[in-house]
Amino acid sequence: MRGNPESHELIAVASLPEALTWLATTPGEWTPIAGGTELMVAHAAGRLTQPKLISLWGLPELSFIHVSDESISIGGGVTFGQIRRHAAIAEEFPLLSLAAGWIGSIANQNRATIAGNIVNGSPAADAPPALLVYDAEIELISQRGSRRLPYANFHLGYKQSVLRADELVLALHLPRRFAGHIQYLRKVGTRKAMAITKVALAGSALVDNGIVTEIRLSAASVADRPLRMKATEAVLVGRKLTPETRYNARTALLNEVKPIDDIRSTAQYRKHVAANLLDEFMNELSQNKQSPQEPSQQGFTE
């Protein structure tokens, strides 16, 4: 432990409005902390630069999963353990359930929240690829009111987002129209578990008579942010999965991803593997599978 607990203030609040008041009064002065799986690591290493923190852990207004006819709404304070255990999410949004199980150990999943995973802004984060292919909307709240935007528009660059200093993530909203889609998610890391992503790819598509009528693709660790791959999607939608289409999709992906060399992998490897994962998804689309693979068959690949 190199950090000094006496160098940081930490306050607890009884309600969401109280938290928003603190954030609004002096925007940027207080840093929200929920499960601490990111900030407490920095704290122990002596790298936590924020002197004032406000605990959101356990706030009931952020800890809900609400199922309506149109959507499933997940409060920002919901943990990945709660997401994994939710039957309706597992049934209709299996990619999110699968990703939730990749987020560290059980102990980490019991503390890490979905808003934390997003706001932390890592391009390697596990939940975002699933949220992107499910067309999730993100709802932000402040004393000024709430606003709702496509999650795909949330990240602006490396660790940059539209979140303002006085705002919190209230919820993610997942539209309930993907149950019939062919869904795909594979993560490639150094080990089978407990490893940060080198590259991951998610997809959701409808195929009718061999023609891709609808498709969404996203990837992690291939750009400065979690990436929705609209250019690659555009090559595939409305087309039969001929060798030519597949070649064009692979080429489009290689142009669309902008990975870097870093401690975990190289740009070259990431590009090659991302294209191979797309190939694998296109194989599944060609076989016209009607349901996603069971998580046990589906991969976190070494």
Binding site: M1, P5, E6, S7, H8, E9, L10, I11, A12, I33, G35, G36, T37, M40, V41, H43, A44, A45, P51, L53, S55, W57, G58, G81, G104, S105, I106, A107, N108, N110, R111, A193, M194
Partner: protein
Amino acid sequence: MSTCWQHIQFVVNGQHSAVDVPPMKRLLDVLREDLGLTGAKEGCGEGECGSCSVRMNGELVNSCLVPVLQASGASIETVEGLAIDAELHPLQKAFLECGGAQCGICTPGMLMAATHLLAKNPHPSISEIREGLAGNLCRCTGFIKIFESVLSAATMGGTNAR
């Protein structure tokens, strides 16, 4: 810069406790330094190794990642709460009998992760045991004897056996 210490109360292994500490002090350090409960160990200090595992309100957590303020009012279970007087917990007996403990550094965390697993799932398969303990690293045993210990405890009736 210094911060206001806070008076924090919680229940540890069934007993009320109160400490005056900085609110960002890690639960792990409060347990070890303020309460003298040195069972939970610091391995990595970043939530990777699980040697600081405790249960907080019935959920397994890494106590190195919990600022103590967030444990205010909570019920904490540590490895010291497993044995009742001189009577070892069935998991502790199984770890002894099956060679699940060697140097001992990871053992408290392994026991708490296993306790949590058996509380949620009294008869886990080997693969469920592997997942339940996936956040706990051991550099001595090669893990197999630990998995066998948990399986043995579950077969004997696990956490409800005593």
